[in-house]
């Protein structure tokens, strides 16, 4: 397989403002001395690859950096460090505000979380889907109308709904508009940020099945961000688990969820409610996550909430180590490896 998107040692830091008053900052400037700004390590040294035609899930709790990572990959914000390669093209060299007019803009598209909020309320469904086609494909008139109607048809959106505004559509129909808008320009990579979070289960099923069908038809790759592990397990080939800006576990979705190696993944899997409880022991996380502001580079990010955490975990940050198809960032990963030994 060929890599479609290659992310290497990617970091995104945000400066923290407002930790000192403007008066203090002014005094500091006059008294001299270096002005040290604290930084939030939203995404910290993350590397992964998305193959052509693959569906990769990205899970983690709120504040772990999922959205920052996704916004940086879709080139809505600039990276602090590292590289993002789409095929042979290095994307981080183009600033985000220029990328909007770049020919490769069409190759990465995004479906946002709440289609009701992310579609311009003064655009009809037709205009919403036509917008990227006008800007990126420069389509007009009859060609534009035909393309919009064919995409709407592929997404199961009845043509008579195209003249409606977002508030006149149901949740499922809005989700279809969001998906149609994203696939209209035939992207290679579709980034989906919790596309079904606002939907009822009965509608969620239809949208997930639509996504699966579209993927088969167009051979797109998906990066699927979600907090619903049961959905990720059904839709994704591979999954990345993030915790406080770091990838702590990666591997085939079924394996990761059935035999999680990282204590965080174990707690995540244990927390998912199931229809038929199999009496598994309840692993619970205590406390709050560590602060992402200037974290100690030698302390494991999960230390403090980790049921295993020992002194070693504060001496060296565990690296992401490879075990066969899987990768885990924990000093104790070996203990949880399934009995059939994976080839290292």
């Amino acid at each position: 397989m060929t890599a479609l998107l290659d992310v290497a040692e990617f970091s995104k830091l945000f400066p923290v403002t407002g930790t000192s008053s403007s008066w203090q900052r002014l005094r500091q400037r006059f008294q001299g001395g270096p002005e040290k700004l604290s930084k939030v390590h939203a995404v910290d040294n993350v590397s992964f690859v998305i193959e052509k035609g693959e569906t990769v899930g990205l899970v983690g709790e709120s504040g772990c950096g999922k959205s920052t990572l996704v916004r940086a990959l879709t080139r809505l914000i600039d990276a602090s460090d590292g590289s993002v390669k789409l095929g042979d093209r290095e994307l981080t060299l183009t600033p985000a505000h220029e990328f909007a007019r770049d020919p490769d803009r069409a190759r990465i598209q995004m479906v946002f979380q709440d289609a009701g909020e992310s579609v311009n309320p003064r655009f009809t469904a037709f205009d919403a889907i036509a917008d990227p086609l006008r800007r990126l494909r420069h389509l007009k008139g009859k060609a534009l109308r035909e393309r919009v109607e064919s995409v709407a048809g592929q997404c199961g959106l009845p043509l008579q709904l195209l003249t409606r505004f977002p508030h006149q559509l149901s949740g499922g129909q809005r989700a279809r508009v969001g998906i149609a808008r994203a696939i209209a320009v035939e992207p290679d990579l579709l980034v989906l940020d919790e596309p079904t979070a606002a939907l009822d289960v009965s509608v969620q099923v239809v949208i997930l099945q639509l996504l699966q069908r579209l993927k088969k038809e167009f051979g797109m790759s998906y990066l699927f961000v979600s907090h619903d592990l049961s959905v990720v397990k059904l839709l994704c080939d591979r999954v990345l688990v993030m915790y406080l800006g770091k990838i702590v576990e990666a591997g085939p979705a079924v394996e990761v969820f059935e035999h999680p190696l990282h204590p965080y993944t174990q707690a995540l899997v244990a927390a998912v409610p199931r229809l038929h409880e199999d009496g598994a022991e309840r692993l619970r996380l205590t406390g709050e996550p560590r602060s992402p502001i200037d974290p100690d580079p030698h302390v494991c990010r999960f230390y403090g909430r980790c049921p295993r955490g020992i002194h070693d975990c504060t001496a060296a940050m565990p690296d992401l180590r490879r075990f066969g198809a899987r990768q885990v960032a924990c000093h104790f990963a070996e203990e949880f490896l399934p009995p059939a030994p994976a080839k290292a």
């Binding site: 709790e61 289960v201 009965s202 099923v205 059904l234 927390a271 199931r274 229809l275 709050e288």
Partner: protein
């Protein structure tokens, strides 16, 4: 797991609750003949999709319906008092003291410009018979009880300074401050992470068991309801369609809608193709010609009998289904599991 209600008088009994909303485009019959009850120490889940009337039920019972809403029939009996016909002054005494509610979004439900410790102390003073001078210290103890570390410092914090999970703990502390006998939890973990959700639900369950509280747990997540409640009440378009003990409901759903809801839950399937969607949408509740069974227009098992008024719950029944042509009852000794081809069809 909390055992099902036995013959004791229920802590809260809702009987034949009907609620209408007057809107510009007509009257919305949001609830029609909703009945259920919860015993002391029992957790009952109200489950349904958005628009099924779960929250309206809770709001009606608490007496905090939107001014456009009106209770047209029914009773909600709490310790001998009918909440629906009680005077506002009576309700003000009961609310907070005997029945309390946890709201969906803790950040918007808390007062944004008052430290959380004071918000808890307010309830203690008003409903908990706690002297004004002792309230702040007891508020700190409440924060400790809901698992907030460093409660003395956190009591001085404002809601915006806390994470979503912490705010929800504060909400729980406020709701439980006066040790009510009934707790209504309206989607208490929506918007929280699964790991936080598990911890918060553990907390609610543990405290409810410790205090012998009846809990009405409202959720759209069938799997979560199954994990936390002894009994599940399934709602659809303002009707209670099925009311059964949890294990029974999951093993042998009788109402076609319940069956389809289970089949649509991602956890139930091994692949996406196995998941079944529910055809059709909720009926427009403003219609004058609403059929007696509001599911009948989506229902694959519809028969001629469906045009008669819905069957009523026989007294003392533990498994109630509002359907004239329900899915077959289990034959003894055959452990049939959910999502069979039959209820997917």
């Amino acid at each position: 797991m909390i055992t099902a209600n036995t013959n004791r008088a229920p802590a809260l009994a809702v009987e034949g609750l009907c609620v209408e909303f007057r809107t510009r485009s007509g009257i919305v019959r949001a609830l029609d003949n909703v009945s259920f009850s919860a015993g002391k120490g029992e957790t009952v889940a109200l489950v349904g999709e958005s628009g099924s009337g779960k929250s309206v039920t809770a709001y009606a019972v608490m007496g905090i319906l939107d001014p456009a809403g009106r209770v047209t029939a029914g009773r909600a009996v709490l310790g001998g008092l009918d909440l629906l016909s009680a005077k506002p002054s009576q309700l003000a005494e009961v609310r907070g003291r005997d029945i309390a509610m946890i709201f969906q979004n803790p950040r918007t439900a808390l007062n944004p410009i008052r430290p959380v410790g004071k918000q808890i102390a307010d309830v203690l003073i008003r409903h908990g018979n706690v002297p004004r001078r002792e309230a702040p210290a007891q508020a700190v103890e409440m924060l400790r009880a809901v698992g907030i570390t460093d409660p003395a410092r956190r009591a001085k914090a404002y809601p915006f300074e806390m994470s979503g999970g912490m705010c929800q703990r504060v909400m729980i502390a406020i709701a439980l401050a006066a040790k009510p006998s009934v707790l209504i939890a309206d989607e208490p973990t929506t918007g929280l992470d699964v790991t936080t959700q598990a911890v918060i639900m553990d907390l609610v369950n543990d405290l409810a068991a410790k205090m012998g509280m009846a809990t009405i747990f409202i959720t759209h997540d069938l799997a979560l309801a199954g994990q936390r409640a002894a009994r599940i009440v399934v709602m659809h378009a303002g009707h209670v369609v099925e009311n059964a003990p949890t294990t029974e409901l999951f093993s042998y759903p009788r109402h076609p809608y319940t069956g389809e809801l289970i089949a649509a839950t991602p956890d139930s399937a091994a692949s996406l193709d196995e998941l079944a969607s529910i055809p059709g949408t909720l009926p427009d509740l403003r219609r004058a010609d609403l059929p007696p069974c509001r599911y009948s227009e989506r229902c694959p098992r519809k028969t001629d009998a469906c045009s008669q008024p819905l069957p009523l719950a026989p007294p003392g029944a533990t498994h109630f289904v509002a359907c004239w042509n329900p899915l077959p009852a289990p034959t003894l000794g055959a452990p049939v599991l959910v999502a069979s081809a039959e209820n997917v069809a």
